[in-house]
């Protein structure tokens, strides 16, 4: 299954802007390439990436075929309170990949 890597500071000061880096392994077949036999590889991508912070959506990305293999994202959020961030990727085939990280606000 998809390997998820998330980089986020474990602790942060109140209202500090923290950088979050995420990487998920996925072929992101865009539907325009062909395999060795000349057959077109059908589209199979992650179409949505959502990040919630204690249930509140803080980042929402609609991913498109132009997204590279193994989607990598760097974005930011304000560390408002101690809590859990949930990272969710939605696949074209209906699969849902998700992972969580906790952040402690000092």
């Amino acid at each position: 299954m998809a390997t998820i890597r998330i980089s986020i500071p474990e602790t942060a000061a109140k209202d500090e802007i923290v950088e979050i880096r995420t990487l998920i392994s996925h072929p992101m077949d865009n539907g325009y390439n062909v395999d060795a036999r000349g057959q077109r590889i059908p589209r199979h991508i992650l179409h949505t990436f959502i990040v919630t912070y204690n249930g509140v959506e803080v980042f929402h990305a609609n991913l498109h075929p132009a997204q590279s293999t193994n989607p990598y994202m760097v974005f930011h959020t304000v560390a408002v309170e101690t809590g859990t961030l949930e990272f969710t990727w939605l696949d074209d085939d209906g699969s849902v990949f998700s992972d969580t990280r906790t952040i402690t606000v000092q």
């Binding site: 802007i17 075929p65 132009a66 997204q67 989607p71 974005f75």
Partner: protein, 186 residues
């Protein structure tokens, strides 16, 4: 990539004259002479549907990407918007377009004051050399844009580059399949 301080980057770019191994360039907003950013028709329609308008004022948003990409399969890009990201004044949506791609939308991010910083980095595919556009919508409803010219040595969709005509492409593939079948029969 995104971690590099922009002053340092512009310094390095100036010193290296763009010929450095990094070949990164900070794009300053479009010259004041251009009053709007003109997108091609297809991209305008997408922007119109997403933002309610396709009139982009140059400025506020910048695109950080290499001026030359050796492979279009993975091109680092940073969308950066000059915004305080407060409840009253923040970026609501950022989009990126490459008219040279079969599907032009590169990126579509919805953020808000909780982001703190209107800056998103990712890696994208580019089919060919050309312009890349970025657009941002602010909480006050204004739209800002920028464009960047990038050279792509090898495109992401190789088949698409060799043959732009899908019909001819299909015929060619059928011929290849026939040849393979004939070879197999022998």
């Amino acid at each position: 990539m995104a971690m590099i301080d922009s002053t340092r980057r512009s310094f390095v770019t100036r010193i290296g004259g763009g010929a450095g191994a990094m070949a990164l360039l900070t794009v300053v907003p479009h010259p004041a002479s251009a009053e709007t950013i003109d997108l091609p028709e297809r991209e305008s329609a997408i922007l119109e549907a997403a933002f309610g308008s396709s009139v982009l004022t140059p400025g506020k948003i910048s695109l950080d990407m290499p001026i030359l990409a050796e492979t279009g399969l993975s091109v680092p890009v940073t969308f950066k918007v000059d915004s305080p990201m407060t409840e009253a004044d923040h970026v609501t949506r950022i989009m990126g377009f490459a008219p040279g791609n079969p599907e032009p939308v590169l990126a579509d991010y919805q953020i808000g004051p909780r982001a703190g910083l209107a800056e998103v980095s990712t890696r994208i595919r580019l089919a060919r050399t050309g312009f890349v556009y970025a657009a941002a919508k602010l909480s006050d409803g204004t739209l800002w844009g920028t464009k960047f010219s990038i050279i792509v040595t090898l495109g992401a969709c190789v088949e698409d580059i060799f043959d732009l005509d899908w019909q001819r492409d299909a015929e060619r593939r059928a011929m290849r399949a026939e040849a393979r079948a004939a070879a197999a029969a022998e």
